[in-house]
Amino acid sequence: MTVSENIQIAAERSPALVRRISPKTVLYAALSTLVVVFCIVPFILVIVISFGRKVDGAGWVWDLTFDNYQRFFVGVLWPDEVTFLYLQQLGNSFYFAVIASVLAVLTALPFTLLLTRLKRSAQAIWLVFILASLSMSEVFIVMGWDILLSNNSGLPKLFQVTGFTQWLKDVGWFQTLRDIGLANPRNVKFKPSGFATILTMSYLVWPYAVILLYPAFSRLDPSLAEAARTMGANRWTVIRTVTLPAIRLPLMGTTLLLFVFLLGSYVSVSVFATPDKQTTAVAIYSNIRGSNLDAPFGSAQAVILLISASVCLCFGHLLNSKAEAR
């Protein structure tokens, strides 16, 4: 008996079975397997590792301990001593992500509104340009700003040669800059600082903000605003009562998305942030790939960061649905 005969007989015996294994089912099964293998398994692995135990002076071992989670909230020496170092880092993650995402959306808002009023061809050119700028990686952007803010090649040099530094010294403001860490005795300095970090992070997500806002803005019906104007409302009243409410949802959505994206930002923070403003993302890396090989604690930090981000997303979603219900 040949193989083809076998198949034929099987097909005759159970036509239902053959119909069920259609190409569509195979495709679904393959895609599900891909999702499970490449998304869910690594995810579960991180969660499982977070219950592992670090062996001082070596690597780590599988275990089932909650010590890593406890350490995140009170430090390794608890109960003898308490430290909120890791909560502080989580706070810094939120601090930078909130400010940078809001700043990016606020500056992208007027730009995108103006963009939608341009001619179609001009809009297309701008959009292509902005899309192209997305291809620059975080490393590249940070490197660029690093040069722009450096003493001999960037803004501080410009300040010095134009005499601005000397002027600052003459009027006495230079001392204030030194006090807040934006100058050394020789010249102004812009890095490391919160300013440089937020600037780079906003710059990083700014093209995303424009691209996410653009579809909603381009669908705005100009006749609404025109009607309001003809009924006597001034320009500001129109923006406040007609335009902004119409784009509130995409604004919220974009801010939330950029916020979550920036929570995991690594390069800008590790290069530009001062040591007291380092974030959870940097701490995770230093634990997992750094010299101490503490993958369990790094994983626990990652899980907590993920939970925090999810809570924020749920909260944002709740606000949105409440606003829509009204």
Binding site: D56, G75, Q89, R289
Partner: protein, 360 residues
């Protein structure tokens, strides 16, 4: 199946025998030529110098060709190895480890294989400290040594005679670049400068006292660098005018005309060293032994000092290095890292260090 009779069997046998005989004649030089070894080193200028100057000498001496592999100089490599060794796809036959990573690798187990020291007679040239005895026997042979040195910008500041001057805010306000990794030597340097050195590092109280001292240094530090390149750029750009940096790279930068000067203050500079370790599962243990033997030769040590800028692990008297060449890569006094403290008290030191840095 074709039936096999005595005649065909004999014929086939003769054929195979003939082939084997031919192979043994033609094949011998081929096998000798194809002896090869995958050796890891730290990439960039460091690895290029190895490829250009050291490996060719080794191939000329032994006929073994070297395939160079880029690896990081940190525990990062252990993570890679932990995944690669069980999977049976080892990236190198020999890797280069710092002492702390090597001890970690030996304690994790199954990453670095024991060595047959009798096959590496020239390891005798090294101080016995540099042949690492792990739990499974000898597991590492010293390769080269490097200093983390005090560096300053000679155009901006006079050369300090002691590390204590870094604490002088009049001189260095918001101007220094130091490493932000707990085990990168600032603890050891501070311990040697203000306390009893390694002894102070051995207790929690000692660590906290040292950290208190480093806390006083914070207003003078503008750059807590993470990657070597950040400090390099910082010195070149004038963002920092002093700090800690690798002696060999600093001297190379100075030779290229950048405003950097490496100096040995009276307390000394931090000296660490790298070891060659055989990867578990490698089938090239004989070739690896030959490579380690070659590396332990005083002539090779001197070659590395000249071409790569590392300090030799053998007595200067055994090499033909001139005083000037030696001063370029080495100096005294040397501060040894408190490896034991870093390994056994790792979690406490890291968290206390991070806490100190995170205070505003």
């Amino acid at each position: 199946m074709a039936r096999m009779n005595r005649r065909t069997l004999l014929k086939t046998g003769a054929g195979i025998g003939g082939l084997a005989a031919a192979g043994s004649v033609i094949g011998t030089p081929l096998i000798a030529q194809s002896r090869s070894l995958k050796v890891g080193s730290y990439g960039g200028y460091f690895e290029n110098s190895f490829k250009e100057f050291v490996y060719p000498e080794f191939t000329a001496a032994t006929g073994i060709t070297v395939e160079s592999v880029t690896q990081p100089n940190s525990a990062d490599w252990l993570v890679t190895m932990q995944q690669a060794v069980p999977a049976g796809s080892i990236p190198t036959d020999i890797s280069l480890y710092g002492r702390d990573s090597m001890i970690k690798a030996s304690r994790i187990g199954g990453l670095i294989a024991p060595l047959d020291i009798s096959a590496i007679p020239k390891a005798e040239n090294l101080d016995s400290y540099f042949v690492f005895d792990g739990p499974e026997g000898p597991q590492g042979v010293g390769a080269m040594s490097w200093f983390t040195s005090m560096v300053i910008n000679p155009n901006e500041v006079e050369t300090p005679g002691s590390w204590t001057e870094f604490w002088d805010t009049e001189k260095f306000e918001a101007s220094l670049g130091l490493s932000n990794v707990h085990s990168s030597g600032l603890l050891d340097i501070t311990a040697a400068t203000f306390f009893d050195g390694e002894e102070t590092m051995m207790s929690n109280e000692g660590i906290l006292a040292i950290l208190d001292k480093i806390r006083e240094l914070k207003p003078n530090v503008t750059l807590w660098w993470n990657a070597e390149s950040q400090m390099e750029q910082g010195m070149k750009n004038g963002d920092v005018i002093g700090g800690q940096y690798y002696l060999d790279v600093a001297n190379l930068m100075a030779a290229d005309g950048f405003p950097i000067k490496a100096t040995f203050p009276k307390e000394g500079n931090l000296q660490d060293y790298g070891s060659w370790c055989l990867t578990t599962g490698s089938e090239k243990s004989a070739e690896a032994a030959e490579f380690m033997n070659f590396s332990s030769d005083p002539a090779t040590q001197a070659l590395m000092s000249r071409k790569i800028g590392t300090a030799p692990l053998v007595d200067k008297a055994m090499t033909d290095l001139t005083d000037e060449e030696f001063a370029f890569v080495s100096g005294s006094p040397s501060i040894k890292p408190a490896y034991e403290a870093y390994l056994d008290n790792e979690t406490f030191i890291k968290e206390s260090w991070d806490k100190m840095l995170a205070e505003s």
